[in-house]
């Protein structure tokens, strides 16, 4: 919270100085007397006390879990919990960045006596994703407007426009071209593998003593290890992905995060190992693992505004390579199924996915469609994306083309069955 003195009332002082100065110069008592009203106004600017920040905010939504495209009315109530009147309270509500106000105003001004409340409403149109309201920005002024106190008033409000993946299985989504388990035939596992004749040197614990008792034949049982195949959520959040099909639609990076969150929940429900790789202005890798704590770490990483800013980052400098790196995906996550979430607006994700697939790694590309058809240029961009989708399909990469106007699960089922 900050407080500052405004300089607007110096205008009255200037008026007083000029009238008294000219009045003295021309020896006109009327003009000298006319300096009194501005002086009175200038004195008035010093009289009121600085406003106290005694505000409490309540915020409610008609539908806290709306569907995509549904209009949601947000009602904000501001209360002066102090015992002094606040004559000028200007508030701008912290509308989530990816929601646009479609009706009413998220701004309000009121004079609030002690204990007084003021309420206002506005409407937003829900978009896929979890939207957190930001703190409301408030400027308080005394009655004369000579002191301005700027502060934020916070209350936790969330609008969860979910698109959960309930019926599609992890096998359909991520492990289509590979099993959902990885077998390590080291002989020491827990899963029965083979039976063969005893050979000298085999450990006694591997001998099938039951069979020996029954048939008097020495056989050795071999075991193998089986573990679930890990899934790596790869988020393409490079600057080139901060694109949207119209001015009132969220960009592809936001939709990519939404997809990642939904899939994370699906994988966590199946208790499969899951990791995260983010390729944005910064890169971040979380090695696949299981457990509630690990899933929560990934969830928080997806919510990290420094790693995945909602507002487009500055353009990369000319000459900076803005390519998706393949090496870490090959070396660190060679056994994992890659779920590459990218709007496919350039060739880099296409090349990465094809290279990984050539190496034998299972790859699924989930692509939020943010291309527009408003002009020839945008239509060509849409065609290029279609071509990339086609090229991926020809390379045996599972492709899920998600139009955000539809449910994610519908797109997944369509992509998995193609």
């Amino acid at each position: 919270m900050t407080a500052r003195r405004t300089t607007r009332w110096n205008s009255a002082l200037i008026a007083a100085l000029l009238t008294s100065g000219i009045g003295a110069l021309v020896a006109d008592p009327t003009l000298l007397l006319l300096s009194i009203p501005p002086v009175v106004f200038a004195v008035y600017s010093h009289v009121p006390a600085s406003p106290a920040t005694t505000l409490e905010l309540e915020r409610s939504c008609t539908e806290p879990a709306p569907s995509h495209g549904q209009a949601v009315e947000v009602t904000v109530t501001l209360k002066n919990a102090g015992d002094r009147t606040l004559p000028n309270v200007c508030l701008v509500d912290g509308v989530p960045p990816m929601l646009s106000v479609t009706d009413g105003s998220a701004r309000h001004a009121a004079a609030l006596g002690p204990g007084d409340k003021t309420t206002f409403s506005y409407t937003v149109t829900a978009k896929h994703g979890t939207h957190r309201f930001r703190p409301a920005a408030v400027v308080l002024e005394d009655i004369s407007g000579s002191v301005a106190v700027e502060t934020n008033v916070e209350t936790e409000t969330e609008l969860a426009c979910r698109s959960p993946v309930r019926t599609a299985t992890l096998e359909q989504i991520a492990h289509r071209y590979a099993g959902s388990t990885i077998t390590v035939d080291n002989g020491h596992g827990t899963v029965f593998s083979t039976v063969r004749s005893y050979q000298p040197g085999d450990p006694q614990r591997t001998i099938d003593w039951n069979r020996y008792a029954r048939d008097r034949e020495l056989t050795t049982i071999s075991f193998r290890d089986e573990r679930s195949r890990a899934t790596l959520l790869c988020l393409d959040a490079r600057e080139v992905c901060y694109r949207s099909d119209s001015s009132d639609e969220p960009h592809a990076v936001f939709y990519a995060c939404t997809v990642a969150r939904e899939l994370l929940d699906t994988i966590a429900t199946a208790n499969g190992p899951v990791g995260l790789a983010v390729f944005g202005t910064k890169q971040r890798y979380i090695t696949p693992n299981t457990g509630a704590h690990h899933v929560e770490t990934i969830r928080q990483t997806l919510n990290d505004p420094k790693l995945l800013p909602l507002e487009p980052p500055n353009r990369t400098r000319p000459g900076d390579t803005d390519e998706l790196p393949i090496r870490p995906l090959r070396t660190r996550f060679g056994e994992a199924s890659i779920l590459l979430i990218s709007p496919l607006l350039d060739d880099s994700p296409l090349e990465t996915a094809r290279t990984l697939r050539t190496d034998g790694q299972p790859v699924t590309v989930i692509s939020p469609a943010v291309t527009a058809t408003r002009s020839l240029g945008t239509a060509v961009a849409g065609l290029r994306r279609d071509n990339r989708l086609g090229a991926l399909r020809r390379s045996n990469v599972t492709v899920i083309d998600w139009d955000p106007e539809t449910a994610l699960e519908t797109a997944i089922r369509a992509g998995a069955n193609r």
């Binding site: 500052r4 405004t6 300089t7 607007r8 110096n10 002082l13 200037i14 100085l17 000029l18 008294s20 100065g21 000219i22 003295a24 110069l25 020896a27 701008v92 509500d93 912290g94 509308v95 960045p97 990816m98 646009s100 106000v101 998220a106 930001r134 920005a137 400027v139 301005a148 700027e150 901060y242 694109r243 949207s244 099909d245 001015s247 009132d248 639609e249 960009h251 909602l310 507002e311 487009p312 709007p343 607006l345 943010v370 291309t371 527009a372 408003r374 002009s375 020839l376 240029g377 945008t378 239509a379 060509v380 961009a381 849409g382 065609l383 290029r384 071509n387 990339r388 086609g390 090229a391």
Partner: protein, 193 residues
């Protein structure tokens, strides 16, 4: 009171009160006024006062005109932060209504991009290999539009003549537009099938 501004303010106010009291005393009790000797002409006082207040007014004026703003560097909450649609760069070339002269490097990029798009669209729509698509591009059989076919045909850009270079520069946008339409039509026909 620890604020220097407050100290100055209170000192000024105290000085003002003292001067006011003294002035009123002088005016109320003429003998005191008579005892005070003003060494200069009366008008000098009035002129001096005018000059002083004029200077003070002049000093205060910038504070009024450049009042601190309470606006932080935050985007307004009503709209979604603006992000361009995919293809904005190409839109600037293809959808411009007036004549546009592009530098050679940009023309080269646009042509190369449209050529790649055409090859990939042929590959996708006809299910052929890239080499076959290149052949279609070379012989111009992928479209009925001769302008579009010529635009993406892999051939030397220019023979270096000034007239041809000028023609290329002037008609580039129109030809690129025809090519974009042709390749979009190719994709649309495939979608209809």
């Amino acid at each position: 009171m620890s604020n220097p501004r407050s100290i100055i303010r209170w000192i000024s106010a105290a000085g003002g009160i003292l001067s006011l009291c003294a002035g009123l005393a002088v005016l109320v009790a003429p003998p005191i006024g008579g005892a005070l000797h003003w060494p200069w002409d009366d008008e000098i006082l009035l002129v001096a006062f005018f000059v002083v207040v004029f200077v003070i007014a002049g000093l205060l004026l910038p504070f009024v005109l450049l009042d601190d703003s309470d606006r932080a560097d935050r985007t307004p909450p009503e709209p979604i932060p603006s992000t361009p649609p995919p293809g904005r760069g190409l839109e600037h070339v293809l959808d411009r209504r007036w004549l546009l002269s592009l530098p050679p490097a940009r023309r080269h990029r646009v042509r190369g991009g449209l050529r790649r798009t055409t090859i990939r669209t042929i590959v996708r729509t006809e299910g052929c290999a890239t080499e076959t698509a290149r052949d279609h591009l070379a012989d111009g059989t992928w479209t009925d539009d001769p302008v579009a076919a010529a635009f993406v045909r892999p051939e030397p850009e220019s023979d270096g003549s000034l007239l041809r270079s000028l023609r290329e520069r002037l008609y580039f946008t129109r030809r690129a537009r025809r090519t974009a339409r042709a390749v979009l039509m190719l994709a649309a026909e495939d979608a209809r099938r």
